[in-house]
Amino acid sequence: MPQHSYGAIPWIGLTVLLPLLGFLVNGTLALVRPQAKRVVSLVGTGVLLASFIVAVLVVLQLRQETLIGPYTVTFWHWIVVDTLQIDFAFALDHLSAVMLLVVTGVGFLIHVFSVGYMREDPGYARFFAYLNLFIVFMLLLVLGSTVPLMFVGWEGVGLCSYLLIGFWYEEKANADAGKKAFIVNRIGDFGVLLAMFILWTSIHTLNFAVIAERAPTMLEAGGPVVTMVTLFLFLGCVGKSAQIPLYVWLPDAMAGPTPVSALIHAATMVTAGVYLVARTNVLFAMAPLSSTLVAGIGALTALFAATIGLRQYDIKKVLAYSTVSQLGYMFIGVGTGAYVAGVFHLVTHAFFKALLFLGSGSVIHAMHQAYHATHAHEDAQDMRNMGGLHRYMPWTFALMTIATLAIAGVPPFSGFFSKDEILAAAFARGAEHPVFYLFWGMGLVGALLTAYYMARLLTMTFLGDNRTGTAEQEHLHEAPWVMTAPLVVLGALSLAGGILNLPAFVGGHHALETWLDPVFEPAKKFSQLVMPHGSTELLLIGGAVVIAVIGLVAGIRGTLVRPIVVAKNAPAEMGFARVLFNKYYIDELYQFLIVSPIVGLSRLVLWKGVDQSVVDGFFVNGSAALMRGLGWLGSRLQTGQVGVYVILFLVGVVWILGSVLR
């Protein structure tokens, strides 16, 4: 019988196997010959390139197939208990194909960047081993055909993230950040586990494809079961994708090396939550309550994190809060039912945020080298120490500008199309549930703030006068080609990423939407979204663009308006009085009416008050302390006296005998 061959698709296992091989080789080298940096870089990036090529071949083949349901490659029966059988199997469908390309592609670029960035680091081999292992787990997460296998990847990426945040382990803060990330994520994992068990008891399967098949018939739409499952799943997403209230770990995670921030904490791992919602879209579509909550949390996070981002001075902290905020947008998308828009923004965000992080990495690299050359002990990440860098790093500056325009949502950059689609979808949903108008509004304000803080970042870093120091200026220069080349590629993607899903009004055909259609088909039965057309659509777009431009202009002018004090001389807190001495009336107005209140709110209330003390101090540290205290009490009972032990023993005896006698 002639079998359909499926071309390259059966080779999909290679995409995981190759990075695994890389991990094994690099891991061994890290133990036996940590100095072999050439081999490590070759292996580390080579396996990723090979994996990416395989992924491209696989996806090209997938284009030609007309598959119903995913293409599944089963390797072995993983867990077989009674009638439950869970295979170790990969499932390739149009959604996982998109993720596969993003993970291997962006992953490869970031690996290449790391070759330059980490060159001087003694833990070079170890770093690449962890990075390769991360790719393995991320692909398991993306390709796993069942919830438990996805969970292996889910936990694995958490572990790698933990190891990489604490990579520079000499600093205690890093280790603490790693621990915080891990513990917060475990709270989310608890949700995923519970969701798994409810799923299993209610529809007796944990296979994603079968879930999509069975859920519509075996579960009651809008019923308690499906609502509970989705809420627990979303708890996992909140943890992994850093949404309110579990976002606290992500800004701290910036303690790790910058390529890690780019790969794990911006482009791939943190988007796993969005991916999970998209993956189980049928369930979410059947649970309107949960979906509204998803969108609501997303909107709240998008706005909240953006306000905090307004007044950070650490360049990576700004980007971290920006990531939290952008993830919020993705959740608005998937919560609204615009799954394609959510995934689209995930992809474009991977491009421009990776670019931003790597660009900031370039800057930090340059700053660090400059300070290193003059033996100064300044903060290489503080934007107040930068300024005017465009003279020394023209390439980085150009690329960062592209990324900034993309994230701000200026056409024709990629972020414009994806963010616009999300906002339009939220607006459209508003016709059904007015609360979505609120979410749309929050998203719009968030977009304004995004444009503002990104413009501020760009201005403080690259424009104006240089504040690094006269001696240091000699040493500021562009990063080596191995670091700039990935930036150029990402820049091109950020610029042109929009063509993936060009809307009709510019003559596009919604390519991504057509591509992903089979995956989201089942959800459509439960929630149909009528996107705005014609004048409404154009009005929405126009409004969004105007807001982005206002934000950008305000950001640049608001930053340039007064001299910035170098970090070490800066007063502890910015007084409002300073703001009043402005020669531009319009700036004053900006400052006084819009920016100052929000800035004050951002820095004083939200960041210092809520973020740093309430969430961190109370929830994270407080619960840990409470448990430790209880444990200490238990330990006090352990006096070493046999008499005490006997008494407790007898308490147990009396209780058990009483219980069996009833």
């Binding site: 352990q638 006096t639 070493g640 006296q641 046999v642 008499g643 006997v646 008494i647 007898l650």
Partner: protein, 98 residues
């Protein structure tokens, strides 16, 4: 047959043994209280053997063997600790704690 009274006597002796374990600090005396508990159990076995046949009586043999074995090892352990602390008072034996 005196089944009920014998079982009751056994229960009372067992409880007295337990009370003794609570009351004493001397490791040897404490161990004697445990022996008392074992004796109480033996009485139960013997009483029940009247109803159920010889199995109960045979059980007593095994219990006696166990008691002898435990006594041999237990007293050796007590001797060993005495060599370290010069005391068998449990109040003085608590270097391990926390």
């Amino acid at each position: 047959m005196l089944l009920g009274p014998a079982l009751a006597l056994s229960a009372i002796l067992f409880s007295i043994g337990v009370a003794g374990v609570l009351l004493r600090r001397n490791a040897i005396v404490l161990f004697m209280c445990i022996e008392l508990m074992l004796n109480a159990v033996n009485l139960s076995f013997v009483a029940l053997a009247q109803v159920h046949g010889l199995g109960g009586q045979i059980m007593v043999f095994f219990v006696m063997t166990v008691a002898a074995a435990e006594a041999a090892v237990g007293l050796a352990i007590i001797l060993a600790i005495f060599r370290h602390t010069q005391s068998v008072d449990l109040q003085n034996i608590n270097v391990l704690q926390g």
